[in-house]
């Protein structure tokens, strides 16, 4: 059965009184939502709380779900807005500067950029990548994550974030440029330093 149609049927069942049906939806979407929150918030505990709160919020609002977009898109929208609220309430600055990344982080990144990776990323490398996402402004970060990590198309991203396709493309372009500039800078700097030592 098509995924979106299956979701609609489950939602109808839940609205008729089957609370257990929501467990199916939580199991189906928790990975995506947890990953999104983790990449947006860069903090495991905050991400876990945010993902749970977004899923509970979605349940409470299920009666207002009109099916104008897929449940997945609707759930992402709730999560995206919840993450933005969490980020807005934080007292620390949400956007790191490239300079604030540690030497160890930069060496991790240089290794990844210079050689790629054949096997799956280790957790410490994951943490570094999450920190790298934090150098992007929130508006660019959310688009970049939805496109490059979650693999969503531009139309879905525009629906989730409530913006135009041109805005999605513009933000994505700026995010990619910023990361690429730092990747080039990093590989060049470290290569030059290594040559200097020789």
């Amino acid at each position: 059965m098509e995924s979106a149609r299956e979701d609609e049927l489950v939602i109808k069942e839940i609205l008729r009184g089957s609370g257990d049906g929501y467990e199916f939806l939580v199991n189906k979407y928790q990975t995506k939502i947890r990953r999104y929150c983790m990449n947006m918030l860069s903090d495991t505990a905050d991400a876990e709380d945010a993902a749970q709160e977004a899923l509970v919020k979605a349940y409470r609002s299920l009666a207002t779900f009109r099916g104008q977009s897929s449940f997945s898109t609707w759930l992402y929208r709730i999560s995206a807005n919840h993450c933005k609220d969490v980020l807005r309430k934080r007292k620390v600055k949400n956007e790191l500067s490239w300079e604030s990344l540690s030497r160890a982080d930069k060496e991790n990144l240089e290794l990844l950029f210079s050689h790629g990776h054949d096997t799956s990323l280790k957790m410490e490398q994951r943490e570094t990548i999450t920190k790298l996402l934090s150098i992007l402004p929130i508006e660019q970060r959310e688009v970049f994550i939805l496109r490059e990590v979650d693999g969503l198309d531009y139309e879905a991203i525009a629906q989730i974030l409530g913006c135009t396709l041109d805005s999605v493309k513009g933000r994505l372009k700026r995010a990619r440029e910023k990361l690429l500039i730092h990747a080039i800078e990093l590989t060049t700097t470290i290569t030059t330093e290594a040559e200097g030592r020789i």
Partner: protein, 151 residues
């Protein structure tokens, strides 16, 4: 051919180019180390983000969520934005107007009630958007209430 710009790189990696343009870029890459390096790095960045491992979070994640939600039909409410005032439900409209006005003028000690309403109706929106929508709603309901008094 000129050096690749960020649009060329994006379209090249997303397979969004026609064959001719792609062939031109491939030719350019054979002779331009700088652009070749850019494409290689951009491609690695793309792969790294696409293959990020899942975050390790608690194993009873689903259980925790299911323990906080009632196993019964959620409270169903018609879409407030399209709520129509008629002779049959005029009392409901007045009650709703009073409730919304109270929620907006009673200070912070009623925060829990306010959040319940947000959760129920405005979960799709960020707090900033919710405030704008709620303010618009209060204006509309006030207008409707005035209309009722005039009659």
């Amino acid at each position: 051919m000129n050096h690749l710009n960020s649009d060329d790189i994006t379209l090249y990696l997303d397979n969004g180019l026609d064959e001719l343009t792609r062939a031109k870029i491939d030719n350019h890459l054979h002779s331009c180390d700088s652009c070749k390096e850019k494409i290689t790095l951009a491609s690695r960045l793309k792969t790294i983000f696409a293959q990020l491992p899942e975050p390790e979070l608690s194993k009873d994640f689903t259980k925790q969520i299911m323990s906080t939600i009632p196993r019964k039909q959620p409270f169903k409410i018609d879409n407030l934005f399209s709520y129509r005032i008629s002779t049959e439900n005029i009392f409901q409209a007045c009650s709703l107007a009073a409730a919304v006005i109270l929620l907006t003028i009673v200070p912070n000690n009623s925060q829990q009630s306010s959040l319940d309403l947000d959760d129920l109706l405005l979960a799709e929106f960020s707090e900033e958007e919710s405030t704008i929508i709620l303010n618009e709603k209060v204006s509309n309901i006030n207008f409707i209430s005035l209309g009722i008094e005039e009659e």
